[in-house]
């Protein structure tokens, strides 16, 4: 197992290097000039544009810019934001916590509820309950997240007035300690629900399919024949095997949740990285854009690593093959 982990860890640096290169190329070869975005919607004097360009090293050749960037990233320096004129790492880190809270909550909610619904549906396939869950998950999977977000705000914040519409904390009253945590929790409900729905639907469908497959296997029939209770058959015999594909999906979802959080953060004014990413695309703020991509890529790579390790832990066949 230790060797497996080591091999997987050693794979990370080349993967990251490849990612940095590809992202850098895509970002830099897209049309658009960060300096023109920066100087605003009025004719800027040439001298001023030249000065800003030189200040950010954009007057150097592209290969030189690339080499300098890779060297800096290797030193842990993600550069300096053109727009905010602050170090990128600080910008990203101060926003990463909010994104982590939002995506982790959504992932936990989507995984737990999704698996539960999947099992419920698989217990009696083609029953009314199964129809409702399967049908609902098709709808949940198809609803655009920004539309769902606005709908949730309209219903729960504007019409019913139960939950806050925007942000992470209340602005007019400041709270401390437990009251503050409660305040954040209330603000978290709608964005987490909006972000989770799609993944909940995916998880439910996969959990159902996976359970159905396992429930038809001989060893399950054997367990039933020897008189094990329905609950025991479901959870002790069937589920551990059915869980493997679901586990893969959950690890795989981390990247998509981070991507989805950009939209959800925008709709709910959630102070995370997603909106920062969105803005830096439009401002051609390359350092921030690259910085976020690197942090997100690293998270996804690590999430996949954890998934693989869990997979290897649950399924000995995988360990032996490496």
């Amino acid at each position: 197992m230790a060797r497996y982990i080591l091999v997987r860890l050693l794979q990370i640096p080349p993967v990251l290097f490849g990612l940095v290169t590809v992202i850098w190329l895509v970002v830099r070869l897209a049309p658009g000039d960060p300096v023109l975005a920066l100087v605003g919607d009025f004719p800027a004097p040439d001298e001023y544009v030249r000065k800003v360009r030189a200040e950010f090293g954009l007057d150097r050749s592209l290969p030189e810019q690339y080499l300098r960037y890779v060297a800096a990233v290797a030193r842990g320096d993600l550069g300096f934001s053109f727009v905010f004129r602050r170090p990128v790492l600080a910008l990203v880190l101060e926003r990463a916590g909010a994104t982590a809270l939002l995506t982790a909550t959504a992932l936990a909610f989507a995984s737990l509820v999704g698996v539960a619904l999947g099992i419920l549906a698989a217990r009696r396939p083609f029953s009314i309950l199964d129809g409702l869950i399967s049908g609902g998950s098709v709808v949940g999977f198809s609803v655009p997240v920004f539309w769902l977000g606005q709908l949730l705000i309209l219903v729960f914040a504007v019409t019913l007035g139960w939950l806050p519409a925007q942000g992470m904390v209340s602005l007019r009253v400041s709270s401390e300690g437990w009251a503050r945590l409660w305040d954040i929790a209330l603000h978290l409900i709608l964005p987490a629900a909006a972000l989770a729905l799609r993944f909940l639907a995916m998880t439910a469908r996969l959990a159902r399919a996976s359970m159905l497959e396992v429930l038809g296997r001989d060893y399950v029939r054997t367990a039933q024949a020897k008189g094990a209770s329905a609950v025991r058959v479901l959870f002790a015999h069937a589920f551990p095997n059915a869980a493997l594909p679901v586990l893969t999906l959950i690890g795989y979802n981390v990247g998509f949740l981070l991507a989805g959080s950009a939209l959800v953060e925008t709709v709910f004014g959630w102070p995370g990285m997603g909106r920062l990413l969105y803005d830096s695309v439009f401002a051609r703020d390359f350092p921030v854009l690259l910085g976020i991509m690197i942090v997100v890529s690293l998270t996804v790579v690590l999430a996949n690593l954890v998934t693989d390790l869990l997979y290897a832990y649950f399924d000995p066949r995988i360990r032996y093959r490496t």
């Binding site: 897209a30 049309p31 658009g32 000039d33 023109l36 975005a37 920066l38 100087v39 605003g40 919607d41 009025f42 004719p43 800027a44 004097p45 040439d46 001023y48 200040e55 727009v83 905010f84 004129r85 602050r86 910008l91 101060e94 926003r95 909010a98 920004f146 977000g149 606005q150 705000i153 309209l154 914040a157 504007v158 007035g161 806050p164 519409a165 925007q166 942000g167 992470m168 904390v169 602005l171 007019r172 953060e265 925008t266 709709v267 709910f268 004014g269 959630w270 102070p271 995370g272 909106r275 920062l276 969105y278 803005d279 439009f282 401002a283 051609r284």
Partner: protein, 534 residues
Amino acid sequence: MRRTVFALALGMMLAALAPRPAAAQSETPRYGGTLVFSIGTNPETLNPAVTTGVEALGVACKMFNGLVYLDRDWNPQPELARSWTVSRDGLRIAFALQPTVKWHDGQPFTSADVKFTMEEVLAKFHPRTRLAFVNVEGVDAPDPLTVVVRFKKAYAPFLHQMTCQEAAILPKHLYQGTDILKNPRNSDNPVGTGPFKWGRWVRGDFIEMPRNDQYFRPGLPYLDKVIAKITPDAPARVLALEAGEVDYIQSYFLLKQEVARLRQNASVQVKQDTDLPGTFIMFFNTQKKPLDDKRVRQALARGTNRPQMLEQAVFGLGSVAKSAIHVALGWAYNPAVDYTKLYPYDPAKANALLDQAGLKRGPDGTRFKVRLVYNVAQAGLNAMAELARNDWKALGVEVTAEPVEFQVTIDRVFTKRDYEVTLQPYTTAGDPAIGIARAYVTMNDGRPFTNPTGYSNPKVDDLFAQAATAPQRDDRRKAYFEVQRIIADDLPALVLIDRTEVDVASAKFRGLWQSAEPYDLWDRVWWTGGRTSR
């Protein structure tokens, strides 16, 4: 007689549209309360003297001041300058400063701050005002409360540009000797002279600015605190206003299709004509055939149903444009030029003009093809492009709409001029010399937001230059009247719509919209739920 009746009717219309401050005046202002206003994203800087960013100025102009502010009629009024005198030849403006102003850190505000800001910051780094300082010979500070600006040649809009939006004054003691663009005060703990001061910034979430107790206008501001709430999603911004989480949305951030609905909401006040007006302009690339022929451009103007665009693309918030100069810039607009009469929607006449220009229809009925390039993210342009495409089909002009991202628009339209027709929103900035001349004067270096058409008319260049440097408004007016006449005929660009700006706010606040600037003057804003004394 007809003209008198028209003038009377116009006067009555204007009176009806004019701000109605009666409610605010009859009530006694109250103290306290927090006003939450919406902005789209984090401001890129908190230094208002180096940016034209809407978020940045919306926040920073609560904490900083200019020498003047513009009242509802766009006249400069005392802000950090108590008064000023302009010499007859326009070559010298002397400002007398308010004597009791202190920076938020307690240091006194003096003429040295103004001289430093003008010379070292505005003249070098302000994207727009930098151009005004090209005309300035020097800035003197003969005593702590006097600033004299000497000009090489008169520059008429200068005084109007000395607002917080265009020329905020920075503290010399914190900026001198530093890299202005990288000064840490640009992103944290800025020190200004304004009614509100620095509180805290939770990035991506909000910026809090408590009351400045040392503010130079005694007794003001009324509010205890203002908060800029970052609400990136435009529909969600309106929902937040309705849910009572946000109290004010400035026109730039307001989804205009919501205005009609918000007018029905008793807890919301809707205010039209709030800011310096803007336009939507259709530019023709005069370097491409057949658009190099002005008859073709005139035909396209006649073949464009602009009233329909006004209703469907901007929800009636504005008027069909009459000239290169926005009608709201009343002193400069030439009433003898009226595009609605010169180029009314008339497809038959447009077709006839195209026939005259020798553009015969091909077998499929098409005379020629154009690519219509515009910024996909700019509200209203998608609808305008679609309407133009339909309108011009009747003329035998096939339009390929090319909605592209903002950055790509700049590249295609201004840098490479790789387009035939483009739609662009331009602000007038309140003065033709600042906001309008740039769209028509000869410009060949591909700078964004100038004249992308290749149109070059020495007479037009000359008249715009004359109008910018004539010290007397009458002389300026003459030059602008003449230039509008020429542009109306050459038509390198057709102004489609004169926009009007609309802000919305919670009905619980009074005293908003004291200034014609988009960032207003919030020291006099008060909350109806406040205390009767401080």
